[in-house]
Amino acid sequence: MCLAIPAEVVELEWPFATVNMKGARKRVRVDLIENINVGDYVLVHVGIAIQKVSKKEVEEIESLWRQILEE
């Protein structure tokens, strides 16, 4: 139920956007995201984007993991 999936914004048509979700195109609402642009990654939960996620941060888990292992 609280599952949310990262997807890339490919087309904007406020308050909707078409996103690419693991290869599938879906129309979702984006009115809860500030300053959204084509190319942004968002977390999609039941038809609405709930947060922007940056690609850089996706890599963060890796670095956090490294850091703890090296502690």
Partner: protein, 352 residues
Amino acid sequence: METDTGRIREKIEKISRGKDIAIMHLCGTHEDTVSKYNLRSLLPENIRLIAGPGCPVCIIPDTDLQKVFHLIESRDIILATFGDMARVPFQDRSLFYYRSRGKDVRIVYSVFDAVEIASKTERDVVFFGIGFETTMPSIAVAIRDSPENFYVYSAHRYFIPAIEAIIKGDMRIDAFINPGHVSTIVGVKAYERYEKYRIPMAIAGFEPQDVMLAIYILLKALKDGKSGIFNEYTRAVRYEGNVLAQKVIDDVFESSDGEWRGFGIIPETGVKIKDEFQEKDAEKAFEDVFSDFQPVEDKRKKHCRCGEVLKGLITPEECSLYMKACTPRNPVGPCMVSFEGTCSIWAKYGIM
């Protein structure tokens, strides 16, 4: 990755040696990650990883289900809801049962699909809304932006205030793994009200590495005698959360007492549609239908221990019906229905 997992396992063992520690996670999707990757087998015996009440379908009491059944029995409406909710049984009936009896029950992926149905018909469309803070913004947006014949039966619950009931409950919990996507909305700041209890909390993502890291972070905090709120899921959770989403929740809903399966009434967790939007509130719009409503008990659920599973007091195999009278194909309780329910997750991954 495999050697990394081995190393984190060693670190976990070393840091927790000799101490019995109970960690509770608060999200059904975390239980899915934990069971799918068998993460409990990577933990030493002195660490118990307990599943909490993080399943919005499971915690909905039978009263709400009965009220919705009562509504579709009394009125010729279109009832829309999420697939999981439609399978929850009450006295051998479910919304799918009603559909097979000719009632108009529609399964939707999102509330906006239900709004679209309403925009294409003259008939009344009632959305049976469930979910925590993750889902509530979408429902609030739909309430603000939908045609006149669209209504919501709100069986949502605020999750954050429910943590209080868990902390003060029957069980000693040493640390919590907080739900990732509820936190995306409410932010790290929402947990600050719990700092006074000095129980470490870690917000975690949903990859197996996220969960193992969160466990390690919590164990380290316990060892150092520190509490606080740790954010492991920085790629999706900010300190402030999603402010626009919080605002739309506050504009449309207000809190009241909320009933939870297993827990009873938990203050501040009920989600009422504000008077300003009362024409959207199915409980008000169809008030006359509910005036003669009397809740009854479901005898078939007499031996279902879903409430105790939700409180983390037992695990599914301690229920005598698990995988005997209660299976994913023929579920007795909602914990065996929802894909976030612990019984259904354990059944899916063959845990006995």
